[in-house]
């Protein structure tokens, strides 16, 4: 069936001149017409798609979760401004808002459908991530970061061990992820161990496993993280926290790939790539005899140093935008940017906690923000805000409430949002904290 059987030539010309994408389907859901804009948005030529099933054209998630035309057929109501997505000829997802209606014959029988769509400028966080130039989730466009991304790509064919150094909060784990994702082992298992989080007594059992009866609580055999990571990659965060007496076992597994489970004498073999990270100056640790030099050389085959945020302030603006979008989505806010005053404060601050601190600051500010359009100075944590004043005039009561909330939020932040712990510190009930946070969110 051709488009002319639905609509006259003159009307088709009008549809072709529209700024919205339009396509028409017949009652068999086959494309009979695609206008110029639809073809331009999708990059699909009408000649390649006419006569084919509509899902071959739009490849929308709506085809799976509920076709708009079907919805109209069921409900009898036209679809207006429905948020959806299409795929272009290269498979890239395009957010669109679409309208749909049914075409009927003289006897009121449905004979087809017409769908119009336009690009949706409101892009969600996932799409923002996909569309922006992040390197495996790492945000940064400064020269040092671009150099770092280049180096990660350069070593992608290597199986050698990696040592990542950098201050706390710079994103060592993100870099480890990127190294793993660009490596030949990207589809294989990736095990992460925070060596500082485990007590010395448990660490050996955690890394190498144990057999039943190896120690008092060993009621059954258990494999260790190295065995679990066999064939893949292990990330040993805060490697310098491993006690010196255990470092020789670690050296052996890294050097020879062999180890024994605790309480067992049979050696086992594994094939694991090691990525280690530390925020300490490992050379000083070696000098102080807290870290084995041979282990350092085994790990430091490919060294990566991530510069602190104060040395790459160019990235602050990208990071701020990134975190605003991330937390605006989480807290249901419409904030899209920060005002220039905030940016000035951020540029003049040294960020001892690096990217993690910046992220916490943005999350805190978004939770506290009373504005809907942008982040303003008054929502910043007191230690960052310093002497900056907000234009908003607050009453004495509002100031008092503000200060209390600030204290509460600062405590929560310091205590990893552990409400029970903060309730104990403040001597209040946990539910009171919930209530206060809820009230704050509503503002």
């Amino acid at each position: 069936m051709s488009a002319n059987s639905f609509i006259d030539l003159h009307s088709l010309r009008i549809l072709d001149s529209l700024n919205e994408g339009v396509y028409i389907i017949d009652k068999e859901f086959k494309i009979v017409y695609v206008n110029h804009t639809a073809s331009e948005i999708t990059g699909i030529k009408p000649a390649d798609i006419i006569g084919k099933a509509c899902r071959a054209f739009c490849k929308s998630e709506r085809c799976q979760i509920g076709c708009p035309i079907t919805e109209i057929l069921r409900s009898g109501k036209n679809i207006v401004d429905l948020e959806s997505s299409l795929q272009n000829s290269e498979g890239k997802i395009i957010s669109v808002k679409l309208n749909a209606s049914i075409l009927k014959d003289e006897s009121d029988e449905p004979i087809g459908g017409i769908i119009s769509f336009r690009r949706d400028s409101k892009v969600n966080f996932e799409e923002y991530i996909k569309s922006s130039n992040h390197f495996y989730g790492i945000v940064g466009k400064s020269k040092v970061m671009r150099e770092l991304f280049k180096n990660i790509e350069e070593i992608s064919r290597s199986e050698a061990n990696v040592l990542i150094t950098g201050e706390t909060g710079v994103g060592k784990e993100m870099v480890a992820n990127a190294i793993k994702e660009t490596s030949k082992r990207r589809g294989k298992i990736f095990v992460k161990v925070n060596c500082a989080a485990l007590p010395d007594a448990l660490l050996a059992s955690e890394l190498f496993g144990h057999i039943r009866g190896a120690f008092t609580d060993a009621v059954k055999d258990r494999i260790g993280r190295f065995e679990y990571a066999n064939g893949g990659t292990i990330f040993l965060d805060e490697i310098s926290e491993i006690p010196i007496n255990m470092q020789s076992r670690l050296l052996r597994i890294i050097q020879e790939g062999t180890f024994e489970r605790l309480g067992e004498s049979v050696p086992r073999k594994v094939n694991v790539r090691v990525i280690a990270a530390t925020n300490k100056n490992i050379e000083s640790e070696i000098k102080a005899k807290r870290f084995r030099e041979d282990l350092f050389y085994r790990l430091n085959v490919i060294p990566f140093h991530i510069p602190p945020l104060r040395e790459r302030k160019d990235d602050i603006v990208f990071l701020v935008n990134y975190f605003i979008r991330k937390y605006a989505g989480k807290y249901g806010k419409t904030i899209e940017t920060a005002d220039s005053e905030i940016m000035e404060i951020f540029f003049n601050y040294d960020w001892p906690g690096n990217v993690r601190e910046l992220e916490n600051v943005i999350e805190y500010s978004l939770v506290r923000s009373k504005r809907e359009d942008y982040l303003c100075v008054c929502s910043l944590p007191p230690n960052i805000r310093d002497n900056s004043k907000c234009n908003k005039i607050l009453s004495l009561k509002e100031i008092e409430i503000d200060e209390k909330t600030e204290t509460l939020l600062a405590l929560l932040r310091q205590n990893n949002w552990n409400k029970t712990k903060v309730a104990k510190i403040l001597g209040i009930n946990r539910s009171t904290i919930h209530r206060k946070l809820k009230a704050q969110m509503k503002k």
Binding site: F29, A53, I69, L73, P110, G113
Partner: protein, 145 residues
Amino acid sequence: MNEMLGNQYFMVRRYCDALAEFEEVYRKDPSNKPIRRKLIICYIKANRIDSAFELFTKLVEEDLEFIIKTDPIFDDCPCPEIIYELENSIETNNQDEKNLALGMLWLFCDIKNSIKYFSELPSDRIIDNILKKLQETKNHLKHER
């Protein structure tokens, strides 16, 4: 009754929902060949092989080529996937019913395989008639090429 809604259900392989819509359309317009073609498939999926065969026999009598000319891509025909499922299913209560369903479905894709399955069925007047018609069409198509 909504033919277009039935088509959508058929497209997303919701055969039972499609069947309900198509049956109504067919009742109102028994000459609607595209609907009859889809109804045969829906009946097979609903395990109503007798109903499918009744429609199939009529359509073969009337316009066999209409079934043969089905394009798996342009007509979004689900027969290849249904055939694959049926041919690989171990469980069968009735081998004749399975052969009958496969004979009908193969006609949408390949006349030779359709003949193969119909030949395996016990001979009777209707089956013999269909086989005769299929053989004639096959020879005719060979001749055309």
